[in-house]
Point group: D2
Chain length 145, copies 4
């Protein structure tokens, strides 16, 4: 997702944040990298609630759409951090566990497998009280472009 | 998703479009109902490409996030059309099949099962040339609120 | 899954049935190829209920386990039919729609995308009355071994 | 899955093992409960390799089918342990991460959410060397029968 030629690996928080900035849609999500831990193969990002994310006008409840998009994106960067190149999503699943109302969200992604052709990542999405709002599981192509 | 008390069922295109308008996030997606066929349990909506959906600035390629959100939303309304009430998403899966570049998208949702507690819907997402861009499979709670 | 060197493609019903016979677990499932249609990228197989498949002893109800295994296997052969080599499953999802009681099952698999590295297949599982019992969506690696 | 009237909850290892014994298909899988931890909402079971599970005759490699069935079953009992009644699977996803060859398997299931109508469970499947072979994510109906 970074488009850079031969960046130093693993990517640090600033490089990842700079990569995010190249995508208008990720800009809409407003993701901020809060933790990048290549030793644990984990990354965390934070998203601030804004009116455009609402399910119903005035409800302060997150629509599931931006939550799914956050899962896809943060999961991707858990692999990008170590591999340093764009990784297309093959597929992902999201399970919604609780409504997210009047809260920011933190997504924590952890690589479960990084193989030669496929990577698998789990993503937990937490609200301000550390309640689990949604969980994602995503598969990305790790083949060289 | 409509929030209306006892609408006449099944909902027609206009009622569904009015329901969509209550959601700021769906407004961001800009979905237009193009077909509502309660006999076939099918519904179709169209989304116009806009710069905020881009994966990389200037690429005209759809980010996967809005595609996933479209699948979740159009799948939901395939059931809402007949049931007339908000149906929370339990979970969904999206498979990305081809890049969607410089094209609008049409999502066609078909109910596979509408049970007392769970509904299952398949969603195909097509580009302007009728190529399959992504497919979704989603599960919604059909329990009365 | 066939292990044969350079079989004539697409594989016909007999070749596919012979491929199935090399797997003890598929032997346990007892799958019979009933249709192989490479033009439509569809294949169908039939499984006969037997006591070992029961969820509860004497219930004549299929446990979900063999249904999931049938989906994985029949989905795989929808691609094997045209590609002629073993294709490892990357992941799959199964949704159970109705109990399957005192019935044989037919699984119909249809290729949704056969790409250079990934193939995606949908599988419908029907009972003797053509009711939909379960649906599967599976992703396989199509990379040359 | 137990079929018992009002068992004492949470179920202990012996009660769970007795519940498993009522299912011919689970008998085929040969699952042994190795840990039942209701405080952590975790349960673990072990399955011994046998020739009927082989992908190809003589390969000693597990077919994906029994692995998927193990995930579905062990995930179910992570909820049954606390709820004490049969819980139909709504859907599940399995990701295969590595071949499982000449090894027994241990499945560890952890409840991620146990709601009024839906429960969500994650299942990790490990080989004898503690390598992750497959991961599952399953949704069950927790509605009273």
């Amino acid at each position: 997702m970074t488009g850079d030629a031969k960046p130093e690996l693993p990517l640090g928080k600033e490089r990842i944040q700079a990569g995010l900035a190249k995508s208008p849609f990720i800009g809409f999500l407003g993701l901020e990298v809060t933790r990048a831990d290549p030793d644990k193969n984990e990354i965390a990002m934070r998203a601030i609630m804004k009116p455009e994310f609402e399910r119903l006008r005035g409800s302060k409840q997150w629509h599931g759409g931006p939550i799914a998009a956050i899962i896809d994106t943060v999961g991707d960067y858990a692999l990008v951090m170590s591999l340093g190149r764009a990784l297309p999503t093959i597929n992902f699943r999201v399970d919604y566990l609780r409504p997210a109302i009047d809260t920011d969200l933190t997504a924590v992604a952890r690589v479960r497998r990084s193989g030669k052709s496929v990577g698998v990542v789990d993503v937990d999405v937490l609200d301000d009280k550390q309640n689990l709002v949604a969980i994602g599981r995503a598969t990305y192509s790790t083949l060289p472009a």
